[in-house]
């Protein structure tokens, strides 16, 4: 799955998804897949993306967004305690979340 030079995907792309492309997307999404999963998803993605291709027929519609961003005043208020915030972490140390090494 490579973007074409004009930044769009050509129609020929629809329905052609191989396990390597699935792995590339899985890498972007930070999800490990085993070989079996990658193969099964490649087959299913071809069907689903083929189906999504019908969106090409949709006309452009003028749209006024229903809701707009509304900011509240940035005021300090009570939140979770440190203990509550850490309660569901698999690992923590000295009041901090403990994550893997950034190599």
């Amino acid at each position: 799955m490579t973007a074409t030079d004009d930044g769009g995907a050509s129609d020929a792309d629809a329905g052609v998804v191989d396990p390597d492309e699935v792995r590339h997307v899985a890498d972007l999404a930070r999800v490990d897949l085993d070989d079996e999963e990658a193969a099964a998803f490649a087959e299913q993605f071809a069907d689903v993306l083929d189906y999504f291709a019908a969106l090409d027929e949709v006309p452009e519609v003028e749209d006024e967004p229903d809701l707009v961003n509304v900011m509240r005043a940035d005021e300090v208020r009570d939140g979770l305690t440190q203990e509550e915030a850490l309660a569901n972490a698999p690992d923590s140390e000295a009041g901090f979340f403990k994550g893997p090494k950034v190599s």
Binding site: M1, D47, V61, L67
Partner: protein, 460 residues
């Protein structure tokens, strides 16, 4: 947690008298002594946060997760006097239409245990259908309250986007989902809606001030001043009076033609009954709905790929173990997420990736605007629209798991409503070979009273 014990036991719930695998946890939270729901029991979908009680979203990723706070709707249940009796099974993170993708095993339909209860709020609908709770809360992203209501023969309401607070709902697709009530009667479901609806300072989408871009700016359907939230000016339960005399019901041909013959027969009988009671029916057309399912899945999957990025095994989720940050995340998510969740996160990542954004995501937003426009035009000709809720009867368990596309197509009649942010209700309209058929009514934004009135006429 090691890889070996990461996956929860999928027979959970089967040995504690829970014959349909309805509950993921059974813990009682007693509400206030007084209030409109005093003495009523409520089952709550397991993606709605309950302080001190596990909330798993039907996922191994959140096995053992205990929220430190209550969702706004949970606070309101307790204030209204309701007693929470447990958290209900669901498709993992709300992704599914049958309640078979839960990491804790499928829920059975109490009407016929060989069949699915529908999804993703299948546990909540089954709790009500089996008499395990008087009322239940589900969440509806593309039909997940109405679908199981139809398949289990109960009532489900999908509120207008912005009527009910989403604070404390574990997000799957923010722009589409609303928490909604399930009950055995329209009046009971409406009374539960009365208890949970209203503005919430924790959720800006419940704002109702036209001047500041709140929900009043989008609709004048609710007959209330611009600065008053419709829920504060309305009693939904009172609208369940069955009076459809003079009501105009629009029937969108596109959403009837695609349904199974047996379902259409039940639907048309119910419609004829409403005509006999003074309602007028007109045919309306929604040409955009042909593209609604594609648009819905592109938008929902895209939002899911972003929302589920938070499950990384550091703040919560399964520990991904040693290695660098990316490897650890990827392992956590491989172990924690089931197939349907991975499928949607990956497809959403694909739809948003460089070179594909315009082809999929932008086109899906165009389709969404088109669907809204179509509904506006149809609802200018009719007070309410009627369709079969589900185009098919409840499938047998296991029948549809391996074919994601056929599962997605089942949502044809429900997803357009979420794309357009409108209210809808599903009420039981009859049965075919012992399996329930639901009828859906769709109303204008914040026009909950109209869909409740129409729904209550069907059950009489």
């Amino acid at each position: 947690m090691s890889a070996d014990d990461a996956r929860p036991d999928d027979t959970a719930g089967s040995d504690d008298g829970d014959e349909f695998n309805v509950f993921l946890s059974r813990e009682t939270v007693a509400g206030d002594d007084e209030g409109p729901l005093a003495g009523k029991t409520v089952a709550v979908k397991d993606n709605i946060s309950t302080a001190g009680i596990p909330t798993t979203c039907g996922s191994a990723m959140l096995d053992g997760y205990v929220p430190p706070y209550d969702a706004t709707v949970v606070e309101r249940l307790c204030e209204a006097g309701a007693t929470i009796v447990g958290k209900t099974n669901m498709d993992e993170f709300g992704m599914g239409g049958t309640t078979e993708t839960s990491a804790y095993g499928p829920t059975k339909n109490p009407v016929d245990p060989e069949h699915v209860p529908g999804g993703s709020s299948g546990g909540s609908a089954a709790a009500v259908a089996a008499g395990e709770a008087d009322l239940a809360l589900g969440s509806d992203t593309g039909g997940s309250v109405r679908n199981p209501a139809a398949f289990c023969g109960v009532v489900g309401i999908k509120p207008t986007y912005g009527l009910v607070s989403r604070y404390g709902l574990v997000a799957y697709a923010n722009s589409l989902e609303q928490i909604g009530p399930l009950a055995t009667t329209v009046e009971d479901a409406a009374a539960l809606l009365d208890a949970i609806a209203g503005p919430d300072e924790h959720d800006a989408t419940t704002r109702y001030d036209a001047a500041e871009g709140g929900a009043a700016a989008v609709s004048d359907a609710a007959d209330v001043p611009d600065d008053v939230h419709p829920a504060d000016a309305t009693e939904y339960a009172a609208a369940a009076d069955g009076d459809v005399d003079g009501m105009t019901i629009g029937v969108p041909t596109e959403l009837v033609e695609g349904a199974d013959d047996a379902v259409v027969d039940v639907f048309e009988d119910a419609l004829a009954d409403l005509e006999a009671r003074g309602a007028e029916t007109v045919e309306v057309s929604l040409p955009s709905v042909e593209h609604a399912v594609q648009a819905y899945y592109v938008i929902a999957m895209s939002e899911a790929s972003s929302n589920l990025a938070r499950f990384d095994g550091v703040r919560y989720g399964i520990d991904g173990g040693e290695g660098n940050w990316n490897e650890s995340f990827a392992r956590s998510r491989e172990e924690g997420f089931g197939d349907e969740v991975k499928r949607r996160v990956l497809l959403g990542t694909y739809a948003l990736s460089a070179g594909y954004h315009d082809k999929y995501y932008k086109k899906a937003q165009d389709a969404r605007a088109w669907v809204k426009q179509d509904f506006d035009e149809a609802l200018a000709e009719a007070d309410v629209l009627a369709t079969p809720t589900m185009p098919v009867l409840p499938p047998k368990r296991g029948e549809s798991l391996d074919d994601p596309l056929s599962l997605y197509l089942m949502d044809a009649n429900t997803v357009p409503v979420n794309l357009a942010n409108l209210p809808a209700i599903s009420v039981p309209a009859g049965e075919v070979e012992g399996l329930p058929v639901g009828m859906q009514f769709v109303g204008p934004a914040f026009g909950e009273e109209t869909v409740i009135r129409a729904g209550s006429a069907v059950e009489e």
